[in-house]
């Protein structure tokens, strides 16, 4: 077990990463144990000495947090993948919207609420807020936000028809049959949704860096894109 490589990863990556771990193990590499939790929890745990070799965060501030505290090796930090933001509606909804300056999202909401991950604390929400600000409609909808704990919960509100519209990651939106992707935000309308990763300072596995390289290898990237993720920014 001393050989195993422990990966601390944001929960939203779990199904892709499980597959990648299996592929890694199949190559005769040490077993990979993935530990999923919110990025915030993982960052704090690393800061407090959690044993782990690799940290994959869902956003950059928490990666910066651990870098600043010198509990990851900054020179190993890379971007794993990117994600898109999509506007979604319940499957039966006929709403049509295209992101553009002052596009009529508030009117489309009507009395309903716009389901987002908490824009003050959760990365997905922060990106959504930035996109809406980019198009100048944030002010119109800021009073009508339902702040979910994370992008998955935001998706559930729409899937259950509680909210007429939501903004979530593209990866989440595409696999939920009860929602329809109304539109995606164009690249550049918000800071890139980047999943940064790094080797921790107290990593014990000699293969940690090799694992990062493996994740960036073309087969791994293909699997990520299969799940809807975008390639890491150049």
């Amino acid at each position: 077990a001393a050989q195993e490589i422990r990966v601390l990863a944001a929960a939203s990556l779990s199904n892709v990463l499980d597959g990648l771990c299996a592929a890694w193990f199949a190559k005769g590499e040490p077993r990979c144990v993935a530990v999923y939790a919110a990025s915030s929890a993982l960052a704090r745990q690393i800061e407090n000495g959690a044993p782990g070799d690799v940290f994959i965060s869902a956003d950059e501030p928490w990666m910066k947090h651990v870098v600043d505290r010198k509990v990851v090796r900054p020179e190993t930090q890379r971007a794993l993948a990117t994600n898109l933001l999509a506007i979604i509606a319940p499957a039966g909804s006929k709403v049509a919207l295209a992101p553009a300056p002052n596009f009529p999202i508030a009117a489309a909401l009507g009395e309903g609420r716009l389901s987002l991950a908490d824009p003050d604390s959760v990365p997905a929400g922060r990106y959504a807020k930035a996109a809406l600000q980019h198009f100048g409609v944030w002010e119109q909808v800021s009073g009508k936000i339902a702040r979910a704990e994370n992008a998955r919960d935001a998706l559930a509100f729409v899937a259950r028809g509680v909210a007429p519209l939501g903004i979530v990651y593209g990866t989440d939106a595409r696999v939920e049959p009860k929602v329809r992707v109304v539109a995606s935000f164009p690249v550049g309308s918000h800071p890139p949704v980047v999943y940064p990763m790094a080797v921790t300072a107290n990593a014990r596995s000699p293969r940690a860096q090799a694992f990062l390289d493996f994740l960036l290898s073309p087969p791994s990237q293909a699997a990520l894109q299969e799940a809807g993720f975008g390639p890491p920014p150049k």
Binding site: A38, S40, A43, P61, W62, K64, H65, R113, S115, D118, D120, S121, V122, I145, A146, R147, A148, E149, D153, A154, A156, F157, R160, G161, V162, A163
Partner: protein, 231 residues
């Protein structure tokens, strides 16, 4: 420690939600706790298990189940909305419901426990004095169960104050509507550097809980005096 208007708003909302949660739970919890203590019936174990589910399941799952059931088009949400005009989605009423569901097993167990200890010989005596069962319940059983009702209320109030997972999953975190203390605290802990405001809110929670418990303790002592138990 001076509270900001935002903090005051969160505090008042939290207390309102917890108080309502206790208020709507009380009568059913008394009925259920008493029935479980007193009667054996087929399916009792199943009812007991269902009551405990909110404890056993991750709160997020409970919230998700509530969401499915009480969504405007959900199997319970639709009739409630159509017939009674009650809408839980994204409203503080939903937060009350979530808190009530999570606190219910605690309240019920405490009440059940004290219902078990009420001496039935006293109830018999009351019947021979002309009191029909419902009067016996109100004048003898219920007062003698008071410590359990009180303890259950305290537990459920505290649990409601602290309810997080089910609430955020069911009704999300809407400032002024469903963003209670734990949700606000959670939000702060999710951003690097949010520890300061989170700590302030935590202290507010502690203060509320302390006040509630102090009140309960006073009441409890009064009850103990009432039945003449040595102090």
């Amino acid at each position: 420690m001076l509270l900001s208007p935002e903090e005051v708003g969160i505090l008042l909302l939290s207390v309102k939600v917890a108080a309502w949660s206790v208020a709507i739970s009380l009568a059913p919890a008394i009925a259920v706790g008493w029935a479980l203590a007193r009667y054996s019936f087929p399916g009792k174990a199943a009812i007991d298990a269902i009551l405990h589910l909110p404890l056993v399941l991750p709160p997020v799952v409970v919230g998700y189940v509530l969401l499915i059931l009480f969504a405007p088009k959900g199997p319970l949400g639709a009739p409630l909305r159509d017939w009674f005009g009650i809408d839980f989605a994204f409203s503080w009423r939903g937060a009350v419901l979530a808190a009530a569901v999570m606190g219910f097993p605690l309240m019920t167990q405490a009440i059940r426990l004290s219902a078990q200890t009420v001496d039935r010989k006293l109830e018999q005596a009351a019947r021979t004095l002309g009191a029909p069962p419902w009067q016996v319940f109100l004048t003898i059983t219920l007062p003698l169960m008071a410590p359990g009702v009180l303890a259950g209320t305290v537990l459920s109030f505290a649990r409601s104050l602290g309810e997080f997972g089910a609430t955020i999953t069911f009704v999300s975190s809407i400032p002024g509507e469903t963003r209670t203390l734990p949700l606000a605290i959670y939000a702060y802990t999710q951003v690097p550097g949010g520890d300061g405001p989170a700590l302030r809110l935590t202290l507010i929670s502690v203060a509320v809980a302390l006040a509630a418990l102090a009140g309960a303790e006073l009441l409890n002592r009064a009850l103990a005096r009432r039945v003449g138990a040595p102090a």
